[in-house]
């Protein structure tokens, strides 16, 4: 009884993929349930919450409202595609260090929106951060720690260093005394 299935060609986090999907599938359903990239979340399935936000050619896009066919021939980046082999994207590290992810369910979408912001500007004002994240609902944090994290990541990217200030204070005291 499954619906008609067709092959769709996608580039997801740099990988070229050809997958068979029901013709009515959204990009989110394809990512989560066909390709198995479950980082992008479904919070409402109607474009209200922003938890499904991915980057489509670098632009934050609600993948739950995007028919998968609209992603053909375009670069899809999900939260799983932000990091490099060296480690987390500065935003990802800063979110952990600053307590920006509580339950973490909105986090993948917020990270995609924030990454697009930092691609445009490495020195965003707090108002610009608020505007960039206005389509992503967070029910845990009150957003304050998220702003702190985005600002810390922007500073890191500007300096070209690790997320220094935050990480120093966050290293467990005494950990550096471990002897091998």
């Amino acid at each position: 009884m499954s619906a008609a299935t067709e092959i769709v060609r996608l580039t997801v986090n740099g990988d070229r993929r050809e997958v068979g999907v029901p013709t009515h599938f959204t990009l989110l359903e394809t990512l989560r349930y066909v390709i198995g990239l479950t980082g992008s979340k479904q919070g409402c399935d109607k474009g209200d919450c922003g938890a499904c936000t991915v980057l489509l050619d670098g632009e934050p896009t609600l993948s739950c409202l995007t028919p998968v066919w609209e992603a053909e021939g375009r670069a899809v980046t999900t939260v799983e595609g932000l990091a490099s082999v060296e480690g987390p994207h500065p935003l990802q590290d800063a979110f952990d260090l600053n307590g920006a992810a509580q339950c973490g369910f909105c986090t993948p979408g917020i990270l995609c929106s924030a990454a697009a912001l930092l691609d445009r500007s490495l020195d965003p004002t707090r108002q610009q951060i608020k505007e960039a994240l206005a389509g992503n609902l967070c029910r845990c944090t009150g957003y304050s720690k998220i702003y702190d994290a985005v600002e810390a990541a922007a500073a890191t990217l500007r300096d070209g260093t690790g997320p220094a200030a935050a990480s120093e204070s966050s290293r467990p005291r005494g950990a550096e005394r471990t002897v091998e």
Binding site: T38, Q92, R139, Y143, S144, R173
Partner: protein, 822 residues
């Protein structure tokens, strides 16, 4: 404070610093797995058919066409699980699927499992249900006064109650009437708190896998099976018990796993229909079954904050001392009991701090209506009365010409005392909270002195840090933690605590690292699985840090003693002179004498055998009033909070902009200040949303179908975005509680309470208008402004305003008398 104290440590190294969360990077990297991220071979997808009627008899259900549809593997109805359940053992009034009656639009009547979601949805359309519609109750006063001419929502619980009454509580402490009569001033007010819902971003989701036979037998020897359920729940232990009971499976053959939970706030703190349905469908089909609620279903599952109709009389002396409080409260409970028995008590019991009340009486009645069931939401049962009472205090201080912070200071109950309802209060940092918000907000220079339209308001509150009595009566510990260490120096902590984002998995890791002297990244937390973690009762009532934290200290100290003893023997020193810190064992007298912690663990393993320990915590049981209900509200410790809110009110539109909220909270000790601030800010944010935007309301017959949710989506039910949310400033106050882990108390719920009344009081400071009903949305505020303008009262109040300054919203809710409870 010495190490000899059961829960203290004099040389804290990690505790109190900013630390990563154990699952923090998993969440930001997209690796963290939530229930809907799990897929199992052969897994089927389930869907639940829901009632379109608010109140109806089920005449018949025909599932034959659905069963015949290709791709459908199982269809169940209420008859397949005819056992009621409920989180409170005394009020099990829900069936997993309705058996003979539906009680709200959205009540489940049948469920299917099919190869995919589309097929399951098609199958639902093929199920024919014949209903006989019944008159429905939507207004709680109608429900209360019903005469039986149409069927009540439930059968009567007592001979002299109608069947719409869940619970009545009437409690009286001190000479209420005498002290009220003798008061220099009495303020009366009526307040209405519209219901709100949790709206976690993750919808409820559950998966079940039944392994029939296979050697799993009942005690009688009859073949049975093993049931495994994964669920986005904040109470795996209660779910475990109810699954076994309702589905008649041996508790030992039920395993509940809790993947990471994407927010809950009380909205996932009891069993739900989907958990029973996936279990039954898996037992029927022999295959794993998943059900994921749609966002609409999350709104109908609800269990959110009850609408409260409240009436308060509050007396005080001319110099601003409270004398007597008299409260009448009607709770609109929706279709089922949920935690309602507790809510009805909390509505009154949790008001007796942070102020000293010489006399107090409350009548609290909860009624059923044909709407989704209300339950516990962050600040369970006490956010609504706190709103009313803190506005009452603002009115009193205003009429007496006393600064409202000073008024609160004069009435502070203090530490190490008892409330009028005999709750034991230990540490209390309320005065420090008041001082903190007073200083940081520039209160003295700005209160009553800002330009018309701009205002400051203050409010205070208290909240429990867990409950002394568990939901089902038993003498076992409330929390257990198990720790083992291995030869690599690694520490494994087995914790049954429910991390719903608040950070309790990290909290136990911080404690293990602190006590055993290992770096934080040597600690692994194994959690969320009833097969291998000790029982913890769940993430509710702000109990986790206090109880699980104390259990973790207990377990870790037992191991620490063994390690100290083994190292001391090696060095020929006293065990008390061996420090474990920073990945080392060190001699206190000469820290140059040291060894790697791994070596220390190995010495201990050689001396004592394989290393492991269990720790536990149980609550004090002898610290409450000896009256019926006296145990409800009894907590091992209470947190305290004060907020100042600053608002800007547009008198032409009624639009209120909250510019900033200063949040001072006494959390005992901040184990990780970053996480404590996160709880304070998240709480203040949630209260702000309830104050200005959120309304969980239903259509009436004139505006659509009666009982239909007014807007079950995150677009229509507006929660604050980044652009709506005010600046939030966290001000941590540490009172170091004598019984908390290193002195810690709760931080997850208390800091929500004052947001709402602080904003209401700030609106009054801005434009002289009292907002006694929620939310303070533009239409509600604008109507109050119109009335005030016509009365000539739309103006900046002055510091010495007297009673004539009072104005009220025109639609302040009528509160008819109702019969006091038993």
């Amino acid at each position: 404070m010495t190490d000899g104290d059961r829960n203290m440590k004099s040389d804290l190294r990690l505790i109190g610093t900013a630390m990563r969360k154990v699952e923090g990077l998993d969440k930001s990297m997209g690796r963290a797995l939530y229930t809907d991220d799990l897929v199992f071979p052969g897994m089927l997808h389930g869907k639940i058919l829901r009632s379109p009627h608010p109140h109806a008899r089920i005449v018949s259900i025909d599932t034959s066409a659905a069963k015949a549809l290709e791709g459908v593997h199982g269809v169940i109805t209420g008859q397949d699980m005819p056992t009621t359940y409920g989180v409170i053992p005394w009020t099990p009034d829900e069936y997993p699927l309705c058996v003979d009656r539906v009680r709200y639009v959205g009540d489940g009547v049948a469920a299917v499992a099919a190869v995919d979601e589309d097929t399951a949805l098609r199958a639902l359309e093929l199920i024919a249900v014949e209903y006989e519609e019944l008159p429905a109750f939507f207004d709680p006063y109608d429900a209360l006064e019903a005469d039986g001419s149409s069927p009540y929502v439930h059968d009567a619980k007592k001979a002299d109650w109608n069947g719409n009454i869940t619970k009545k509580v009437h409690l009286e402490f001190g000479e209420v009437d005498e002290l009220m009569d003798g008061a220099d001033i009495v303020v009366e007010g009526e307040y209405f708190f519209e219901g709100t819902t949790h709206a976690p971003i993750e919808p409820h989701c559950a998966i079940a896998s039944w392994q029939g036979g296979g050697g799993f037998e009942r005690p009688s020897g009859e073949s049975s099976g093993k049931l495994t359920v994964w669920s986005a729940t904040q109470v795996p232990h209660y779910l475990h018990r109810e699954l076994a009971r309702v589905l008649d499976v041996d508790q030992a053959h039920v395993r509940v796993l809790q993947p990471l939970v994407g927010g809950a706030f009380g909205g996932k703190s009891e069993p739900f229909d989907l958990e029973f349905c996936v279990a039954k469908l898996s037992m029927l089909t022999g295959r794993p079954v998943k059900i994921l609620y749609t966002r609409e279903e999350v709104f109908y599952a609800h269990r959110g904050r009850h609408p409260f109709h409240m009436k308060y009389r509050t007396g005080a002396t001319a110099d601003g001392k409270l004398t007597s409080v008299d409260a009448k409260i009607l709770l609109d409970g929706g279709a089922y009991a949920s935690f309602g028995l507790v809510t009805t008590y909390y509505a009154g019991q949790l008001l007796c701090a942070p102020y000293d009340l010489p006399a107090y009486r409350f009548d609290s009645t909860r009624v059923y209506t044909n709407k989704p069931a209300c339950g516990p939401k962050r600040g369970h049962g006490s956010v609504q009365p706190r709103f009313a009472f803190e506005v009452q205090i603002d009115k009193l201080s205003d009429q007496l010409g006393i600064d409202p912070i000073e008024f609160r200071r004069r009435n502070s109950i203090g530490s190490h005392t008892r409330t009028i309802n005999e709750l034991r209060v230990t540490s209390n940092g309320f005065l420090e909270c008041l001082e903190s918000v007073e200083r940081e907000s520039g209160w003295k220079e700005r209160f009553r002195k800002l330009a018309f339209g701009r205002g400051l308001g203050v409010a205070g509150s208290t909240y429990i840090t867990g409950t002394n009595y568990p939901i089902y009566p038993n003498d076992m510990p409330q929390s257990g933690v198990q720790i083992q260490v291995d030869r690599s120096g690694r520490v494994a902590v087995f914790s049954g605590a429910s991390d719903i984002g608040q950070g309790c998995d990290s909290m136990v890791a911080y404690i293990a690292a602190e006590e055993l002297g290992v770096p934080l990244d040597y600690v692994r937390v194994l959690r969320g699985d009833t097969d291998f973690t000790p029982v913890d009762l769940g993430a509710y009532s702000s109990r986790v840090t206090f109880m699980v934290g104390n259990a973790a200290i207990d377990a870790a100290r037992k191991l620490r003693s063994m390690v100290q003893e083994a190292v001391a023997e090696q060095w020929d020193v006293k065990p008390g002179e061996v420090l474990l810190a920073g990945g080392l064992a060190l001699w206190a007298s000469d820290t140059e004498r040291q060894m790697h912690i791994r070596e220390a663990f190995n010495l201990a393993e050689a001396k004592f055998g394989t290393l492991g320990s269990t720790g536990w915590y149980n609550t004090p049981k002898d610290v409450h009033g000896e009256y019926r209900g006296g145990t409800i509200g009894a907590s091992p410790a209470y947190s305290f909070t004060a907020h100042v809110a600053e608002v800007d009110v547009d008198v032409d539109t009624g639009f209120v902009e909250v510019k900033k909220i200063w949040v001072a909270h006494d959390c005992g000790r901040a184990l990780n200040p970053v996480l404590v601030e996160g709880q304070m800010e998240g709480s203040a944010y949630m209260g702000f949303g309830e104050a200005l935007m959120e309304e969980h309301v239903f259509k009436d017959a004139e505006h659509g179908r009666a009982g239909l949710h007014d807007g079950p989506s995150l677009l229509d039910y507006r929660i604050p975005t980044s652009l709506d949310t005010p600046e939030l400033e966290s001000l941590i106050v540490e009172s170091i509680d004598p019984e908390g882990p290193y002195g810690a108390k709760e931080a997850g719920e208390g800091p929500l309470h004052p947001s709402i009344p602080a904003i209401a009081n700030a609106i009054y400071d801005a434009v002289g208008v009292r907002m006694d009903r929620l939310p303070f949305s533009p239409p509600n505020v604008w109507r109050a402004i119109v009335v005030a303008r016509e009365a000539g009262m739309l103006r900046k109040p002055t510091l010495s305003d007297r009673a004539d300054a009072q104005t009220s919203a025109p639609e302040s809710v009528a509160t008819p008398e109702f019969v006091p409870g038993d």
